[in-house]
């Protein structure tokens, strides 16, 4: 049995990696990014998988055991609230605390005048981002942490100790989870490492979206310098978590750097020049990056086409997957395209028809991975996930 499972793992890994290199495997790999869906399937509430990561890991493994998937993320309910609570992070609403027990956690962006980085603080941030994060940003985003100059408190000290040890425990758990997925169900752990674009980090966690948009007009040179200051650090963090075997990609979560959140000019002047070199550097180390293009990034396909062949895997959410395939499918593997609304509201026949259209349209020459458009939460119907899986296995053989 163990040998069969290992054989299954090896065949799934080969299938997944072959597709990601934009080649044709034996059949279309299936790699759904299932988050709170795993809780629904395994019989847990959102609260349980958000607050107890061992339950989240168990739920992911149960799905991997029951569905014929090639790869799955070890825990896509990634923000463990044990850490956010230990650190005292103000910007999350958590199921069972602020939210009903079956609603996924939410990020709460502060109002513009309470952004976590003030406009006059750009220079300090640019000079030393790590110092700024520890001494200004963390005390500002935490209910527990004292800033330098304030009295040290018992709770501030505790938040560092608990946060650090909790983070170490949680991240160590992913290694164990990957091994269990392999041994129990022959499933590949889909990604390794994390990356976000400098521009998105500036918007998401520092200046806020509205603050950054204002900065683009009032202090554009500071925005560019801040993005450039972030580049080496984000590259370092991405590489430090990357797959040492160089099989699976680094996950790149793309947020609000595209048209219409910003103008095309802003994308070309700020977002892209501070992103492209990072992707190229990561690729020079032998690691692919999964462009998880949440929303619609079709306006920027020509920019993405500048990247080296096979350096990325491009995931389609609300973009036109057929247009994406036409414009960059010759260079990069594509994943996704099955709308989440269909998984939640449609029926199995509609799912099968959708999967057929996608497979016929973009997967004939390989270089395609079946997945939903966006992270699958607990609104997706189990029978629809099954239909997507079973149809792809039946129809997606080369």
């Amino acid at each position: 049995m163990a040998q069969d499972t290992e054989q299954l793992y090896r065949s799934r890994l080969k299938r997944y990696v072959t597709a990601m290199r934009n080649e044709k495997p034996d059949m279309i790999p299936i790699r759904p990014f299932v988050a709170e869906f795993t809780a629904k399937y395994a019989g847990y509430t959102c609260q349980e998988v958000t607050q107890d990561y061992e339950k989240a890991f168990a739920a992911a493994r149960k799905c991997a055991a029951d569905f014929d998937w090639d790869a799955v993320v070890g825990n896509m309910v990634y923000v463990w609230s044990g850490i956010t609570q230990a650190i005292g992070l103000k910007y999350y609403a958590v199921p069972g605390v602020e939210l009903p027990i079956d609603v996924g956690f939410q990020y709460k962006e502060p109002p513009e005048d309470k952004a976590f980085m003030k406009p006059e603080e750009y220079d300090r941030f640019i000079e030393d981002p790590t110092e700024f994060l520890f001494n200004v940003w963390l005390p500002r985003v935490s209910t527990e942490v004292s800033a330098p100059g304030e009295s040290a408190t018992f709770r501030s000290n505790l938040s560092f100790l608990k946060g650090g040890m909790a983070m170490m425990k949680y991240f160590g758990g992913f290694g164990t989870q990957a091994e269990l997925l392999r041994k129990e169900s022959g499933t590949v752990s889909a990604i390794s490492g994390i990356f976000k674009a400098p521009f998105d980090i500036l918007a998401d966690k520092l200046r806020g979206y509205l603050g950054l948009i204002t900065d683009l007009f009032e202090r554009p040179d500071k925005v560019l310098a801040a993005c450039e200051a972030l580049m080496p650090h984000l590259t370092h963090v991405a590489l430090s978590g990357a797959d040492p075997q160089k099989n699976v990609p680094i996950g790149f979560w793309m947020h609000r750097g595209c048209v219409p959140f910003v103008s095309r000019v802003h994308f070309e002047k700020f977002y892209w020049p501070t992103l492209k070199p990072v992707i190229e550097q990561v690729w020079s180390h032998g690691h692919q990056v999964l462009f998880y293009a949440e929303g619609n990034w079709d306006a920027h396909l020509d920019s993405f086409a500048e990247l080296p062949d096979a350096s990325i895997v491009y995931h389609v959410d609300m973009g036109d997957i057929f247009e994406v395939h036409k414009r960059i499918g010759h260079k990069f593997c594509i994943s996704g395209g099955v709308p989440n609304y269909l998984l939640a509201k449609g029926n199995s026949d509609e799912l099968r028809k959708c999967c057929r259209n996608i497979i016929d349209g973009v997967a004939k020459d390989g270089g395609y991975i079946m997945d939903a458009s966006a992270i699958v939460q607990n609104d997706a119907k189990i029978e629809n996930i099954k239909a997507m899986t079973d149809f792809t296995r039946e129809y997606g053989v080369y």
């Binding site: 956010t84 790590t130 994060l133 520890f134 983070m167 994390i194 976000k196 080496p232 963090v237």
Partner: protein, 56 residues
């Protein structure tokens, strides 16, 4: 006495070894060993704050 951080420390570093070495003064043993362990632990603290920003 703790000294000011130099500008733009490289990724992976919170308090550079060079700064800590000055504070320790003359070392009685293997400097490379002390430096390596210092920098390994530096990387843990660095990982903590950057994952607070990136992951959580």
């Amino acid at each position: 006495m703790a000294q000011k951080r130099p500008k733009n420390p490289k990724p992976g570093v919170c308090i550079p070894w060079e700064q800590k070495h000055k504070e320790l003064g003359k070392l009685s043993g293997n400097e490379e060993l002390i430096k390596r362990i210092w920098e390994d632990n530096e990387a843990l603290a660095y990982t903590y704050i950057w994952h607070c920003l990136l992951s959580f």
